[in-house]
């Protein structure tokens, strides 16, 4: 076994290179250029949120990481090997948002069948218990609720004890308790060295559960960092004030002004250091009726990902 434990962190780093490595990946479907040159490296044990609006290329990228699609250009590797090889060894598993279940078999049979295909597996009962569906193990899949089916997909993903777990909108249909249990299970496995990449379009979920957020828009990575860093990048404040004769050049000369809009006597300024800008406006420009508003999380996300000109596609 080629494993070693890093001292000083609670994460385990396994041999075998980066959990995910994408180099210059492009993928098109006809005229749609879904992925436009994504470079991404995810280290083992990281919990990474893949955040973006519908149509950002998240799903296409995930398909390539899972070996379900091939890039037109560039390379994709998981745990130092071709995605299909990693899947064949049970090193990579995924929880998809929809489908992937046979309606006419029971919950337990589904996991048992899945387990039978892998060499290295965990106990079926343990997986059912961890996913919280041991109690409904004899129920037909077709009779399960959306949340129960999602837990079943999770149990199926756990059974091969994957080193990389890819989740596509994982908590869709789950109630609050289900969501909490789910993320608790994910967290405890990350400490064993499991890497988790989850796609979501909720900044809240990404911010709450991921070590790192990779923000994609129109098939490109537009931001990559911790939740705090992402928010900081997008979370400028807006200052509005009234000036008698606003002087564009003088206003732009104020340190910290990042955006400026003048409508008659009304001035709107975008800035990170809003206090300094406000002080300058009040002290040297004779500004009146000054107000400062902060952007929320969702607005920050919108700032980074929105683009009114192009239609969204899943």
């Amino acid at each position: 076994m080629m494993t070693r434990t890093q001292k000083g962190t609670d994460r385990t780093r396994l041999a075998g290179g980066a959990a995910i490595r994408l180099d210059g990946v492009h993928k098109s479907f006809g005229d749609l250029h879904a992925v436009r040159g994504i470079d991404l490296q995810v280290e083992q044990g990281e919990i990474v949120a893949f955040l973006g609006p519908n149509g950002a290329g998240k799903t296409t990228t995930i398909d390539m990481i899972l070996g379900l699609g091939r890039p037109d250009e560039g390379t994709v590797q998981t745990l130092g090997m071709a995605p299909r090889d990693a899947v064949s060894r049970g090193l990579v598993a995924a929880v998809m948002q929809t489908g992937g279940l046979l309606r006419d078999v029971s919950v337990a049979e589904t996991v048992e069948l899945t387990a039978s295909l892998f060499v290295h597996t965990r106990d079926v009962q343990e997986c059912l218990e961890r996913a919280g569906i041991w109690g409904i193990r004899d129920q037909r899949v077709g009779k399960c609720s959306g949340g129960e089916q999602q837990r079943l997909r999770f149990a199926m993903a756990l059974v091969s004890d994957p080193a990389l777990l890819v989740l596509d909108e994982p908590t869709t249909g789950m109630d609050v308790t289900g969501r909490r249990d789910f993320w608790a299970a994910i967290r405890s496995d990350a400490r064993r060295g499991r890497t988790v990449l989850f796609a979501t379009h909720y900044l809240e979920e990404a911010d709450q559960y991921a070590d790192r957020i990779v923000l994609v828009r129109h098939g490109e990575v537009v931001a990559d960092g911790t939740g705090a860093q992402i928010k900081a990048r997008a979370s400028g404040r807006t200052i509005r004030a009234t000036l008698d004769r606003p002087d564009r050049a003088a206003l732009l000369a104020i340190e910290g002004v990042e955006a400026l809009d003048i409508r008659g006597e009304s001035v709107t300024i975008g800035a990170h250091n809003s206090d300094a800008v406000a002080r300058a406006l009040l002290n040297t420009m004779g500004a009146r009726d000054l107000e400062i508003t902060a952007q929320g999380l969702e607005e920050a996300f919108m700032t980074l990902t929105s683009d009114a000109n192009e239609g969204a596609r899943a």
Binding site: R89, G90, L91, A93, L101, F118, H120, M156
Partner: protein, 264 residues
């Protein structure tokens, strides 16, 4: 079979993994797949009832049928047809699995195309035993007479040979949307059965039709199933027909399974 690594829950996740033997083919998969079919009342109904109805409708009395009587000939034909249909309709069920996203899910496991195809063929051929047993039982009870050796040969050839239609069902099931699969299969089975000489015996074929029919996928198996009664003349052609179609249909099924990773 599952192997649990004891005590690894707290330990690190192992990267030292191997791929399964035989492309993931295993008994658990086979058992669960078989149970799924046996639980499907509709499939079981048609598999059993259809050949019974056909047997009583088509009970013939006289034509030259070689070493057995006409009833024996018909028994072999109808049992074979039942086996063809059982194989094809069972395996074409993959169309429904595709619609549920299951084949895509299987692409996230080590299961290889040939192992999956083999599982489906074995399950289908297990189901095909039912019409064979039912029709041979009825035939013998209602006056079909032929040398025992010829009947055993016909039974075994029909059972093994009808697996060809399991491959056909898989190829169609992987190719067409599930709502169309069953109509196409019903139509195809009837036409292929005529071409193969299942309903109208091959010796009755015109020369021109026979030249065409020998290229159709039921021809070789049907001829060989009747060989005990009607003789082995032309056997090399039957073998060629069977081997050729097995390669074409099996190859198509594996290729279509591999291709089938689309989202639902």
């Amino acid at each position: 079979m599952s192997t649990t690594t004891p005590g690894s829950a707290a330990g690190t996740i192992s990267l030292d993994r191997s791929t399964p033997a035989y492309g993931g083919f295993n008994r658990t998969l086979l058992r669960i797949e078989l149970m799924r079919i046996l639980r499907n009342k509709r499939t079981m109904f048609f598999t059993v009832v259809l050949p019974v109805i056909f047997f009583f409708v088509f009970r013939a009395n006289s034509f030259n049928s070689g070493s057995g009587n006409a009833s024996a000939w018909l028994m072999v034909s109808l049992a074979l047809y039942g086996a063809f249909v059982a194989n094809a309709s069972t395996s074409a069920g993959v169309a429904v699995e595709r619609a549920q996203g299951w084949s895509r899910q299987l692409r996230l496991t080590p299961l290889r195309g040939p192992a999956y195809i083999l599982t489906k063929v074995l399950v289908s051929s297990a189901v095909a035993v039912i019409p064979l047993v039912v029709v041979y039982g009825l035939g013998l009870a209602f006056g079909s007479r032929a040398p025992a050796g010829d009947l055993v040969l016909a039974f075994v050839v029909s059972w093994l040979g009808s697996m060809l239609m399991a491959l056909f069902g898989l190829a169609v099931g992987f190719l067409l949307p599930s709502e169309n699969t069953m109509q196409v299969m019903g139509m195809a089975m009837t036409l292929l059965a005529f071409g193969g000489g299942v309903f109208i015996p091959q010796p009755v074929f015109s020369h021109a039709f026979d030249l065409f029919a020998r290229w159709t996928p039921m021809y070789g198996v049907t001829a060989m199933a009747h060989a005990g009664l009607a003789g082995w003349s032309g056997a090399w052609m039957w073998v060629l027909n069977i081997v050729g179609w097995a390669a074409v249909l099996g190859g198509s099924a594996v290729w279509l399974f591999r291709r089938d990773t689309g989202r639902v």
